[in-house]
Symmetry: D2
Subunit: 349 residues, 4 copies
């Protein structure tokens, strides 16, 4: 086997970062050589995460580009939106490969970013350079790239469920509605009343209705993949569970199609891609069926009464929706087997 | 105070029945004189429900119409669909007032019932006699009636959220989509793998997509209230929590309206009705905010980009969606204050 | 009916305070005339708690002793430990009756308080004046008192389970072990990583092992009730649920006793007290069986092999462990029916 | 690399069986050649477990000893107690290596088995042949054996926490109390009201107090490891979560010891064993910190006031408490690296 590539994980004290540490630990071609945290540098890696005891030893490194350049070949930036735009350019300028998990390099328009994120956008020079890493759709662009912007969790689930049908011209894109439900870990480890245990346990609610920052990302990628230029309706909800996203998506059929038509179309579209599984007739995926793994499972229901199709897709928001797809992007960048380090059986129950 | 009315609860070992026992215990005008179970007759009332110890003493009665007629003036039939159609006619023929919580008398067409429930419909003579007891909409018909069919949990949440907008002609009924999420208690106490703890905890899924039996009930009541004769898209989901329903509903606006327009319209529509609360701008209800109570809370979001309105409504599926609305119907039938026995503050957190 | 007493709730934005608002709303002899919050004064009462919309109108009052004295006859201080010691003396000096829900007036020794709470103790003058309001044990002292220190949640569950057996001399107090499990709401509404949803959902852990501040409170009250002067072993744990405490308690039997002996002893001890329910043989209480109510349910297992008894007691930590017992104390202070305003059927499921 | 050993999993539709499939899928030296279910033979392996789609293809085999002998070298019997005693002898007689996950071969006394399990015991010939596979304690006996009885979930957590202290003579074995809490998956996939979602969600309770069948297993293994012949007090509880066991264990110290003494003792006892991790001072393990992995984490608190030590141990009940330890036993039997196929980072959060 060839020498391993050396990886640094920045933002390792967030949930996306810590799941990267889990996945990279067993990657056959990667060695994690620096675990980085701006807030906790100098402390034990397992101090804030005792589940890592005996697995990751040593202390957290500071965010120091020179140090990272010495220790690593590739950087995973699991930093929050607003932080990545500051850090990533320096990593790139230092010659590091970068996979960024934030929202800072997904939208190509700085103005659009500013409108939806209400933060200062990244320098345009870097925006244009970033490849949007939705692996099963834009994977060819990722190959050989040295800078990937990893898709958001909701967009990953929504786009994998929508693109084949929209691209085939089977549904009217103007009628697309995405009703999305996410486990609470998507909100990260930062404290807030919204995800205070007693507030969200035994509770269910929508949030940022018609104003979530993943909306323009979905629209941008849908246009890029299918040519459709339409605003979509997107409603995120919080489910009292830790991991998992389910998107229930609705669209009007342009002409008569059966569930089996959709199953065949999607199986063909994702042929050879190891992480998308299409359910059979009358079976719809549940979030637990992908728990802890990099799968995206998809199912369908066609309603003759309303001439609409309902498409259901599920992912683990921290894996296929964050750390797992980031590793998958590294695999594509490096020309490795797409599933290297990601051959995880979902943990059930 | 006048003498109390005597009430019997049939099907008291189900979750709807046991919540009726909770609510009726503190009702100022009602005394529960018979607690009935076909499967557990003769056993202690609190045997299967230790939370009722010292509150309900005595044993469960069998289903015996003569006995019920002697002991009670009104019967709550908290029996499953398929059982009520057999039992309720005898109660009515015996001169008892009846509030039926099953689905057996909601649809006026036996054929439609048979299609969606895949069971034998009730005798048409009784179908036409039943008043559909969506209190805030059809309450006038309930007054003075002696036989009320209590609405389903999903229809209650959906209809209270949709009817004012459809009736006002503000939205295109052909575009209505109802994405509904329910706590697990809606599935009742009967054992099934679907609601086995380890299968649904930390899990989220859809079920009966485009085939749930509440679909025609929603369409029927929508037509009755607004004249709109349209098929709606309805998707139920299971949330890993015990109580609560949230409906996220979508429709295209016929012309420009603001959130404040909707708020004003709904506050006017529900003026004087104690159990519907309309949230202010930019605030949407969460299921926990009505937990254990008879409220239905509603909020709105208008999206200028897509010309759609998103309407969010929440109820406690066992209270406003079952036992609470049944008591509310009794109050209306008897001409009492609509909120008698129902002045419950939601339990939070 | 006589005029209602006027009550003020200080610390109404905490979970104990907000549950007081729920209970007092239906109290036949109480009117809440001032809802007070030092942090949110001037805001709508239902602003931070939308479940109170239409139930509590008006705005939050500041902590202003003169204002409170004008508006109220009795004050519930649902303020954190360390705050009550500052506020309560002024309320008392103003002639208000006070029920304090914090830990500040439970321990009679300031030094002991300082050791376990690591905070400055209250003025001794007020410490001696406070009656420790464990209603079923020290209720006689509460009658006619104007200052009650409401017991802690864990001590309430533990003491009601232990006192009859220790007082009867049936168990060796030196062998008492209290293994306690609490829902997360006991930690309050203040943000902390410990009760961040993703950290405690699907998780179970002990905390403050052998150092929890309720330990000396249990020992003090046990001595007061039984004369036993022993250190007890007490371990609190966090359960991934919102409400409920279960204490599993162990002690060695001094001589042979059966489960029925214990059942008889406890039923006799609590005869006439409406809120303690003793389970029959081979049945042990579960926390959900008291959910939302003021009950404390108790069960037993005697093990012939080890000569130990296991005593299991459950309460709702926010009701019998806080707001409910506080109302019960008010009832005793005022000479009302002990259960006034507290006739709540547990919400099940 | 040598050829892989061929493994059959009997009882693959239970939770222990399906977690074996997860673990064995990535085992470097094992190939699963037969997935067996008596109840579902002939159906797709992923039919009842869609999370296995594309991972395990083919259909479930029946329980047929001849077929198994042709297809496999080793059998994992993940069958219920009462079934293994019937099946395992035939597997052994056919020359297969067997790892049995049931309780049928753990107790060496048939009479004791009958008393606690209330079932017919296995043939004594096979009872004596089974090696009790608590890997870190009796691993030497496992090496080279061809029949291992895999320990129960509660005994694994309890014994790993107790044995070093008892063996060192630091604690009085007569004072041992084990207060154990388990996630619901320990109850398996069979339907029962106890683990019906709405009954156990937001609920906490004890069960089989002083009568759980794991009690004699703990006593037997404690005696075998330390010579102590004492009855222990053992109380199991159900936690509203899917996976995880925490044992809180109490014992009186024979002489003064500090927490650091215990930490040093245990680290020495488990030196070189990859799956036991000892927490540092003042830190106690939480169940989520081992979720999905084969670790057992242990922490301590010494109380000077009561002269007791509190020992806390956690495992994932389906991994170290079932499937993971079974694989670990196979590794020991075959002389492989103890952690082959088990190098799993806990999934957090």
């Amino acid at each position: 086997m060839a020498a391993r590539i050396r990886a640094a994980v920045v933002g390792s004290t967030g949930y996306g970062g810590v799941d990267l540490l889990r996945l990279l630990r067993r990657h056959p071609h990667v060695e994690v050589t620096s675990v980085i945290s701006s807030s906790s540098a100098g402390q034990d890696i397992s101090g804030g995460y005792p589940h890592l005891a005996d697995i990751y030893e040593g202390t957290l490194d500071p965010v120091d580009v020179d140090l990272i350049r010495q220790k690593a070949d590739v950087v995973f930036a699991a930093t929050p939106s607003g932080a990545s735009s500051e850090l990533v350019p320096a990593f790139l300028d230092a010659g590091l490969k970068v996979i960024d998990l934030s929202g800072d390099f997904r939208l190509k328009s700085g103005a659009l970013y500013e409108k939806w994120y209400r933060k200062k956008p990244a320098d345009e020079k870097y925006l244009v350079r970033a490849v949007y890493g939705l692996c099963e759709v834009f994977g060819d662009e990722v190959k050989g790239s040295d800078f990937v912007s990893n898709p958001g969790c909701y967009p990953t689930a929504a786009l994998l469920g929508l693109i084949p049908a929209v691209k085939a011209g089977w549904v009217d894109p103007e009628t697309i509605i995405i009703d999305a439900k996410s486990g609470v870990s998507g909100a990260g480890r930062s404290l807030s009343l919204t995800v205070h245990y007693s507030e969200i346990n035994e509770n269910f609610k929508a949030y940022r209705v018609n104003s979530h920052q993943h909306t323009p990302e979905i629209e941008m990628a849908l246009e890029k993949a299918t040519g459709a230029t339409v605003p979509v309706t997107f409603t995120p909800h919080l489910v009292p569970m830790t991991r998992g996203i389910l998107c229930t998506m609705y669209a009007r059929l342009k002409e008569h199609r059966t569930e089996q038509d959709f199953i065949d179309l999607y199986r063909e579209f994702y042929r050879g891609r190891p992480f998308v599984r299409i359910r059979g007739r009358g079976v719809w995926p549940a979030t637990k069926e992908v728990w802890g793994s990099n799968y995206c499972d998809i199912g369908f229901s066609v309603d003759e009464r309303t001439h609409r199709v309902t498409i259901l897709s599920v992912i683990d928001n921290l894996v296929k929706g964050a750390a797992g797809q980031a590793v998958q992007n590294l695999n594509l960048m490096m020309g490795w087997d797409e599933s290297a380090g990601l051959e995880l059986v979902p943990v059930y129950p």
